[in-house]
């Protein structure tokens, strides 16, 4: 027997404790789909460059709701539920394509314009004077749900809720400028991969916001003497806690730090060096010293700059204990051949086989399995205090607490 989400009690006010039931409870999961993904948030759904011409579309999801995102006749971008208003079949079946000015459901050939409005019903007047729809049937009253769309930095977001504020306001000035720092000019897609993760979606989002784990779980950089938590950087958290941008700054003055060795952490060793160090041959392309920037937009987007390896990652929930991570590897349309090659080589750092990200594919599953019998126990999220404010260190869980601050506000906990 499960309890309804309204009857679940959040255990106390502090942001530094999180109950484990939140990763497995069915009813809570269903409430998340309604209150968060289909609520007053902006979900990342596509790249503008995926939708170059009128009729170009991609299919994706808002939470678990299938959606079509399409370039309209006047250059605007529309999004609507990918569900025929007749019998509920998917309207568009491919990941992407180009459809002209109409979509047509394969089941009974009902058709939709690029806004998702029902414009055609096959045999609406019947055949040979028989059958057909009743006179009272009004096509305008029947259509899949339409979503608002917004774009920034070449990213397309969609929202089902009229209450979502304008995207600039939603992000806040600080996160917005960090986003545009990377996505400041037209991008080119270098590849797409899907990573199926055996864990609740929140465990991945927390992981991305968790600046504390990076050099402890991902020992590639420290094993090969590349970067450590003792380097410069910090974490910026939006005032509502929802979004964040963490950064590592190349100061080059901490190579003599003994902090890891002093604490006996396995990441410290002197034996290993890269055979081909050109992997890390990096060009500063954003006019600053930020080597790595990981940015999240609540609830489902990660924008990654790891040296010159750029990607957007879309988080799609697939039930309480599963999710998909959709990776889109990016370069810029004006990249030289040399820059393209640099991005392809540095892509080894990230993705499902990434030197500093493959662990993120399994660690969420370790938690999911670890807490199987601990739903009323609390996890400890105390590094750097109890608050969710920006901090100039990465040895903190401030952005994770920010996630819970926003999560509880949307969920009413």
């Amino acid at each position: 027997m499960s309890t309804s989400p309204e009857r679940r009690e959040w255990p106390g006010a502090t942001l530094a404790r999180v109950p484990y039931w939140v990763y497995g409870d069915e009813d809570n999961y269903k409430a998340e789909l309604r209150r968060i993904f289909e609520g007053p948030v902006w979900n990342y759904v596509a790249l503008e460059s995926d939708l170059a011409r009128t009729g170009d579309y991609r299919t994706t999801f808002v939470g678990e709701m299938p959606v079509v995102v399409v370039r309209g006749e006047a250059g605007e971008i529309h999004a609507f539920e990918n569900r025929c208003s007749h019998r509920g079949a998917l309207i568009a079946l491919d990941d992407s394509g180009s459809t002209g000015k109409r979509f047509q459901c394969v089941y009974h050939a009902w058709s939709y314009d690029l806004r998702g409005a029902l414009v055609g019903v096959a045999f609406e007047k019947g055949a040979n004077g028989k059958g057909g729809m009743p006179e009272s049937f009004c096509k305008a009253d029947h259509g899949p749900r339409q979503l608002r769309t917004a774009t920034i930095g070449g990213l397309v977001f969609a929202s089902l809720s009229p209450a979502a504020p304008p995207i600039e306001e939603y992000l806040g000035e600080a996160v917005r400028s960090r986003l545009l720092r990377v996505l400041g000019r037209p991008v080119q897609v270098l590849g797409r991969f899907v990573q199926a993760l055996p864990n609740n979606w929140k465990l991945y989002v927390e992981n991305v916001k968790d600046t504390y784990h990076a050099s402890l779980l991902h020992t590639f950089f420290s094993t090969f003497h590349i970067t450590r938590l003792t380097q410069g950087g910090g974490v910026l958290v939006s005032p509502d806690g929802a979004h964040h941008a963490s950064s590592t700054i190349d100061r080059g003055d901490d190579r003599v730090s003994t902090a890891y060795r002093d604490q006996g952490i396995r990441s410290e060793s002197d034996r290993y060096r890269l055979t081909d160090p050109s992997l890390l041959d990096t060009l500063k392309e954003f006019g600053d010293d930020i080597q790595l920037q990981i940015l999240t937009v609540f609830p489902n987007l990660v924008v990654q700059q790891v040296y010159n390896a750029l990607a957007v990652r879309q988080v799609l929930p697939k039930g309480p204990g599963a999710m998909e991570l959709h990776w889109t590897y990016l370069g810029f349309a004006d990249d030289t051949a040399e820059m393209r090659r640099r991005r392809l080589r540095q892509a080894n750092l990230v993705g499902p086989a990434g030197y500093v990200s493959m662990e993120d594919g399994c660690v969420g599953g370790f938690v999911q399995r670890g807490v199987a019998a601990a739903e009323d126990t609390l996890s400890v999220v105390n590094m750097g205090g109890e608050g969710a404010e920006s901090q100039d260190t990465r040895a903190t869980e401030a952005a994770v607490r920010g996630f819970w601050k926003a999560y509880r506000a949307y969920m009413g906990y």
């Binding site: 797409r192 991969f193 899907v194 590639f220 094993t223 290993y272 392809l344 892509a347 499902p352 030197y355």
Partner: protein, 152 residues
Amino acid sequence: MLDRVSRLNAEYARAIDDDRLEDWPGFFTDPCLYSITSADNHRQGMPAGVIYADSTGMLKDRVAALREANVYERQSYRHVVGLPAIVGERDGAVRAETPFLVVRIMRDGTMALFATGRYLDTLVEEAGALRFRERVVVCDSSRIDTLLAIPL
């Protein structure tokens, strides 16, 4: 030639499945190209791979990272490699295309079909042995379960 490519493929698969990853870079020339991509990416001409190496140094670093740095649950592969098709031969380089299946066996005994696809190879003779100048691993699916640690 078909026979030589088949034997090379068999040795390659045994090296990975027997956890002799240190032998893996030796199957390639230097420079080389080894990449793991998907049929969708390949068809659309998109160049990124989940692994992308263009020197044997990068292959050695991949093995060193798996041994010394990366964290993943104990797992192994069983490659089943089909018959190669020799699709071209020019200037001493042979192009071959070979289908494969890889079953991944996890530490708890779970066995699952992890990847299917084809190897798109360019092979050359080097010091009396056949080596891969290019091995592009085109997986039939773009979807990877959990993570990809061991090379395909």
